[in-house]
Amino acid sequence: MTTAAERAATIFRRPAPEKGIWSWITTVDHKRIGVMYGYSAFIFFIIGGLEALLLRIHLSQAESNFLTAAEYNGLFTTHGVTMVFLVIMPMGAAFMNYLLPLMIGARDVAFPRLNALSYWIFLFGGLFLYSGILFSGMAAPIGVEGVSGNLDPSDITRLGALPDGGWFFYQPNASRDFSPGTAVDFAALGLQILGIASLISAVNFIVTIFNLRAKGMRLLRMPVFIWMSLVVAFLLLFSLPIIAIALFMVTFDRQFGTLFFDATGGGDPILWQHLFWLFGHPEVYILILPAMGIVSEILPVFSRKPLFGYAAVVFAGAGIGFLGFGVWAHHMFASGITPAAQAGFGIATMTIAVPTGVKIFNWLGTMWLGRIRLAPPMLFAIGFLAMFTIGGLSGVTHSIVPSDWQQTDTYYIVGHFHYVLFGGAIFGIFGGLYYWFPKFAGRMLNERLGKIHFWLWFIGFNMTFAPMHWLGFQGMIRRTWRYHPSLEFWNQIVSIGAFIIALGLVVFIFNWVRSRRHGPIAGMDPWDARTLEWSIPNPTPVHNFSTVPTVHGLDEFWHRKYGEDDEGRPVRKDDADSYVARLGEEGNDPAVPIHLPNPTYFPFLMAAGLPLIGYGIIFHTSAVGKALIAIGVLLSLSALMGWATEPLEEGHHGPVEAH
């Protein structure tokens, strides 16, 4: 019961909604936050995909006017930024949010309100970034010696005002002189806001993993997905500060006249590249490791064998994360860095291939001699293995430094990173969506539609991205509005493939929407799985575990269902079925009242202050801009004050009665 004093400490009445939109805005439940991340990321995936389709329609002709140069440049930039920061990262966050506590036997993350804050900052950051299109206008570069470029009036379009420069915004092209207007500022500040969200998540997940594991779950008994999440959190922790600094420097150069990257003032444009890639390379491991974790969970379940070489996979993952900080300049081989630096980074890059190979071989070893069920999660997992291997091999060819001088900035690179990020990360993520859908919805996704989706994607994906390798070697550069007519045939194949991918996604969406309401009921443990999250009912009860289990080894849940015979083959225990059934009943009906953190709107309010500050900085020369900065700061600070004086739990919230 709240005392008068405690109530006095909160300014407004504490919300306690259980349903409706307010329950989502004030939630601190990690599962709901994960779901919000997932749906938001999925919508951005559709947007980023539409951007890609526009690009591919344009590129199906060598000298197309479907898009103006400015529109084309803006779209490929936005497509990249969207897919990296607004799709793959938050999708990873969605899985980590939903699954972390479930897999380690906890009821929530260490800081539930901070968790909500992360989500709202992410959402506001993404919306802020995209809102730039409303406020930015097209402007020709101001150029050198005060002489500016010129625009044909027919080239001035709204879409042309999107920021251009690629997702890495090389300086000085993305500086005030060469990208006047506000488009780049929206991108830079938007990314800054998004970075804060990820940093907060990283702190949250690290503390959760270190402090909230169930009894007996020692670190080397954690599922691989948890390990990969831990490595990702540390990668975020150490790489985000660097990009934050870099983005501040760009923003200050553009807004306040600093000279960090201005060559005419003595600044160094290459410094931007170093700073960006010091973040950017760990970032790509941040993108792939969650999918590697997901695949490491799916393969054992659908091969009915434990993960081959668990310790090797874990240490290889950690090794990849660690080594990932030492290879950044392999994105800069042609930039004029010294031969010694190039050789060093080339060799460091080759080194990363070793732990990556170790993981791939161990995944193969998991499948080998297994009893393989080719359900959709498994299809996507195997698809991941196949596509990621190709991407990894092309990556090794990049480490042949002089050859990279031919490959870099061509479609060969575009092919490489789409193989690892789409064929790898996205395939893995979708495998996870099929696999964990029952946990979230209590129903199963349709298997036949899932297989159709997979094959459409497998065919479409390879049609789209395989030709890019030879297009690159035939001289098709990146970020090119026009290309040589001799390359038109294969560009058309690529474009057709892109539409096949789109078709596959439509199938998936249809499957998802239909199965949410009408899919077959999943019941308990539909996949006969191995890890703790399957030992509780589907859909997951709000309190997660009625009783937190004690863990005695890896794959705890599996070992409660199965013993082993003399040959080491699993034998289902006699009471396994009744045990699982009992878990289902108890899971929905906890014996003791469970207190859960109360909902709160302070995270939402605090997050809302940030885009206001962002708008204020962009328009800071006007009175409105200055006012917006003040309002934003005030809003965030007061929300922070309210939050700091509000207790995590008040009264009862959560399952008190039997359901």
Binding site: P112, V203, R213, A214, L237, I245, G257, L259, F260, A644
Partner: protein, 212 residues
Amino acid sequence: MSESTAPPEDEEVAHHDEHESTGVENRKLGMWVFLSSEFLFFGALITNYLLYFGREFEQGPTPSEIYDIPFTSVSSFVLLMSSLTMVLAHNALTRRDQGATRTWLLATAMLGSVFLAGQVFEFTEFIVEYDMTLSTNPAASSFYVLTGFHGTHVAIGVIMLLSLFGLSKRLGGLSERQHLNLELVGLYWHFVDIIWIVIFTVVYLLTATSGG
């Protein structure tokens, strides 16, 4: 097979024997983790400054030519002393001496503010006397952004200290739960101080070319 446990409280250590844990309370561990990230934040800024420090520029002066080392030494000392008063505040709270806690909290905040005033004075000198602004050259840009961010961190720390002070004043003292909060603010404050020691040593002392 399994035991019944209450949900893990993020600010209580009472149940930590019920699950695998580092033994460090959640919020304290969280602060340490966050501060490790901040080390890289300032590391990048300091590296930036060092990269531009040795170069020649058309427009001067560079910060290293115009440092007033004696003055900055004094303000560094002030900040160092504020770490001492912070320790004393924590000490006082451990002894349950709420009055002393408030005194030392206020002292820390005031010393921090004096440091900030010193920074403002120094910047004003540089701009007005020597005409060194953000846009003079990249070394100047790096210097201002680095020390500016540090100053912002100090200012946030002062706000947190004053909040604790105000809370203690209003509620007649800090509760057991607020103990941890004071410790967290202390950790943050010491971190900010350590960063300043690094900045003062590397950025001021090691690169100063003028006599002071």
